[in-house]
């Protein structure tokens, strides 16, 4: 009997020490950071090679000018796994002082009003590109600064092959298929597809959005309001049909089902494949491995039906954000870091780190003279009014998570184009309901 209180005390001790250890890891970490005169902040980025190089260069150039601040880089996986990490860390208050994340629909999904520090009062906001600013704005507050340049969702092509066969970059889908037929006749796989990495399968659909918007200007609005659908809009359905057509014509490389992005880039750079629908963001990586690709690989927008309306679908760069959990000296340091990134010096630093993916979203930032041919090819589209549009994910919060698998099925001949579009429409419904949009 005498042991009873003792035993309960022991049990309580055991349980509470469990609870305590769970907490201490986090609090210990942050308390040791602020010891000493200088401030240390952490910067969370995606774990892609180019992202890391870019971040290291930015941190190096920034800390060289700001002696009192040191920045620790932390990486996270990209893709949906990364989405989960960002959401979890935000909701548990465990987010580093600065983190990099997507703009547009994914940005809206992390509840910016609740979780992020508004940057609208910062002097540099006026220098940000308006298109970009729209994609990091919620309730009239700007929350992010751009890292990297604009990207085009387009077809990268091997220039020597085109020259040898006497082809010109196509402006319509019919021309594209005619070119592909000639390339195939020359014994080269005309269209590179890499379904080993499923996101690369989506470009025929996502990169076609300029052509959709050119035919149906109000598609994005109606789409958000549940009035327009991929399966029922003839213009939007084209993307799925193109994915199917390329497979049915046998234009894909033989190992399309298992090849990955690096395989695709290798084929393109070495002339083992002719055309690769992909984001121009991969160009820097390709040139790092195959320096010749800088002049041998060009770019054209995904062709539609009407040559006069043909244009480029553009992705805005990812952005850096500050979570509300950053306070005091760390918040000031984080704001200084963002201000540096949003200045011409920041762009210069990023250009040092690797070939830019496209024009910067900060006014006063110029591209260097020796940009790769593929990036140069984007400029005419951007300069000509009406020849470029933001991708659908930046003008509508509705984006389904399964598009990559659906396009893999359509592009592998497992599912028909129309069927795939219907399935994607069902997929986005869940997303719209989760976001609580009106009309769904």
């Amino acid at each position: 009997m005498r042991f009873r209180p003792g035993a309960s005390g022991l049990a309580l001790l055991a349980v509470s020490s469990l609870v305590l250890t769970a907490c201490s890891a986090g609090s210990l970490g942050s308390s040791s950071d602020s010891s000493g005169g200088s401030v240390q902040i952490t910067y969370l980025i995606g774990n892609q090679d180019q992202d890391l190089k870019n971040a290291q260069q930015l941190v190096k150039d920034f800390t060289a000018k700001n002696a009192g601040i040191s920045i620790k880089i932390e990486t996270r996986p990209a893709g949906t796994e990364g989405d989960n990490i960002v959401k979890t860390r935000l909701s548990t208050g465990d987010m580093p002082e600065v983190f990099n994340y997507n703009t547009g629909s994914l940005f809206q999904a992390i509840a910016p009003q609740k979780n992020l520090v508004s940057l609208s009062d910062q002097p540099y906001v006026g220098n940000l590109d308006d298109n970009f600013k729209n994609t990091v704005t919620a309730d009239n507050q700007v929350y992010g600064v751009p890292v990297g340049g604009f990207m085009g969702g387009a077809v990268l092509y091997n220039i020597p092959i085109y020259k040898r066969l006497g082809l010109t970059p196509p402006k319509t889908w019919a021309e594209f298929m005619a070119n592909s037929a000639k390339i195939k006749a020359a014994g080269i796989p005309p269209v590179i597809q890499t379904y080993g990495e499923t996101w690369t399968a989506q470009l025929f659909v996502l990169g076609d959005f300029h052509n959709v918007a050119a035919t149906e200007p109000d598609f994005a609005d109606k789409y958000t309001k549940n009035q327009a659908k991929y399966a029922t809009s003839p213009a939007a359905l084209k993307g799925f049909e193109h994915t199917e057509a390329v497979h049915d014509a046998g234009y894909e490389n033989k190992d399309f089902a298992s090849a990955k992005l690096p395989d695709g880039l290798k084929m393109l750079a070495t002339g083992k494949g002719a055309q690769y629908p992909i984001l121009s963001g991969v160009v820097a990586n390709m040139i790092a491995t195959y320096p010749d690709a800088g002049k041998n690989v060009g770019l054209f927008a995904l062709p539609g039906d009407d040559a006069s309306k043909n244009g480029l679908t553009v992705w805005t760069p990812g952005a850096n954000y500050i979570p509300k959990t950053a306070t005091g000296a760390k918040l000031d340091a984080a704001k200084k870091f963002l201000a540096f990134i949003a200045s011409p010096d920041g762009c210069k630093s990023q250009t040092t780190a690797g070939a830019p993916t496209g024009p910067y979203a900060v006014k006063g930032c110029a591209l260097p003279a020796d940009v790769p041919q593929a990036i140069k090819d984007m400029q005419p589209y951007l300069d000509k009014p009406g020849a470029s549009s933001l991708a659908l994910e930046f003008v509508s919060p509705v984006k389904g998570p399964s598009l990559s698998q659906i396009t893999v099925e359509v592009g592998s001949g497992i599912r028909k184009a129309k069927d795939g579009a219907v399935r994607y429409d069902e997929d986005v419904k869940k997303q719209a309901q989760q976001l609580g949009l009106a009309g769904w």
Partner: protein
């Protein structure tokens, strides 16, 4: 966890009766003694179980939640991947479980006979069980690559052009199941070895004296008497097959497209997409399904065992 906590509860229920009878002999521990495990059990198991039942009725994000009634279940059952996922799960569970029973039994018979290097062979068969599932999955993904993989390379030497093991929709699920069998058959073999070794030698000797051939000995003595082992192997591998996820995710991520999706990977993808309420509902459905299959099966198999 369940069994350990059930026992104390039964005892504490029995305790008042015992004390009414005027004896405290049957109450060796005070109630305080059960507190730590009770707290751990309820915090880590009971609370989440009931919380997930509630959250399956809401549309929640990590930031807030909204009550939507049975909408999630409705949506989950409309999920086009679900039917495919369910059939795939059943195919996968039955194929892996069946192969493990057959192969496990054969290997166990072999490894309990008098062969050279028996101990070494036993450990070789068991070794894959110890290796990380993800590691196994990634290794076989490389081996099964249709163009550069070792398997198709070996097949082409003898003039067979192998299929895209993981990229052909017809083969993907079965390829993963085959790897699962390779990885899991060691455990089944181990259970069978234990079962066969525990059969008294007298039965086998008696059968031999009666003139039974090796086949008849196996058929009439070893097979029926290793029934408890068979039950264990079937139940374990069936449950394992029904909730299998890690190997499939490491090898195909449910692909190509959705052709090798199982329920667990459908649910996981919904979590990834941020449809937390929907996927919570999916987990409730998975829980009910596994219970509905395994409970009657275990009852049926164990009853047979008693009859025998």
């Amino acid at each position: 966890m369940t069994t350990t906590s059930v026992k104390p509860q039964e005892r504490s229920k029995a305790a008042p009766a015992a004390s009414a009878a005027g004896s405290k002999v049957y109450r060796p521990y005070s109630n305080w003694f059960f507190l730590p495990s009770a707290i751990i059990y309820s915090v880590l198991f009971l609370v989440p179980t009931f919380a997930s039942l509630y959250f399956s009725l809401t549309r929640w994000s990590l930031f807030d939640s909204k009550f939507v009634g049975l909408d999630n279940f409705k949506l989950f059952f409309q999920e086009p991947a679900l039917v495919k996922g369910f059939t795939n799960t059943l195919i996968y569970a039955v194929v892996t479980s069946g192969s493990k029973v057959v192969l496990g039994l054969l290997l166990a018979v072999l490894l309990t006979s008098q062969i050279v290097a028996r101990g070494y062979l036993r450990s070789v068969v068991f070794f894959p069980v110890l290796v990380s599932t993800i590691g196994v999955g990634l290794t076989f993904t490389v081996l099964m690559n249709p163009e550069r993989g070792l398997i198709n390379g070996a097949l082409s030497v003898v003039g067979i052009s192998g299929p895209g093991w993981l990229t052909d929709p017809k083969w993907a699920l079965l390829s993963v199941a085959a790897v699962d069998v390779w990885k899991g058959v060691g455990l089944a073999t181990l259970i069978y070895i234990a079962g066969i070794v525990s059969i008294p030698r007298e039965y086998i000797e008696a059968a031999r004296v009666d003139g039974a051939s090796s086949w008849e000995t196996f058929r009439r003595v070893v097979l029926p008497l290793s029934r408890p082992a068979t039950v264990t192997v079937i139940i374990l591998s069936l449950i394992g097959g029904l909730r299998s996820f890690d190997l499939i995710w490491a090898m195909t991520q449910g692909g190509p497209g959705f052709t090798s999706d199982v329920i667990a990977s459908v649910i996981y993808k919904q979590y990834q997409a941020g449809f937390y309420g929907l996927s919570t509902a999916g987990n409730v459905v998975l829980f009910i399904t596994v219970t509905a299959i395994v409970l009657p099966l275990s009852w049926f198999l164990n009853r047979k065992e008693v009859d025998m």
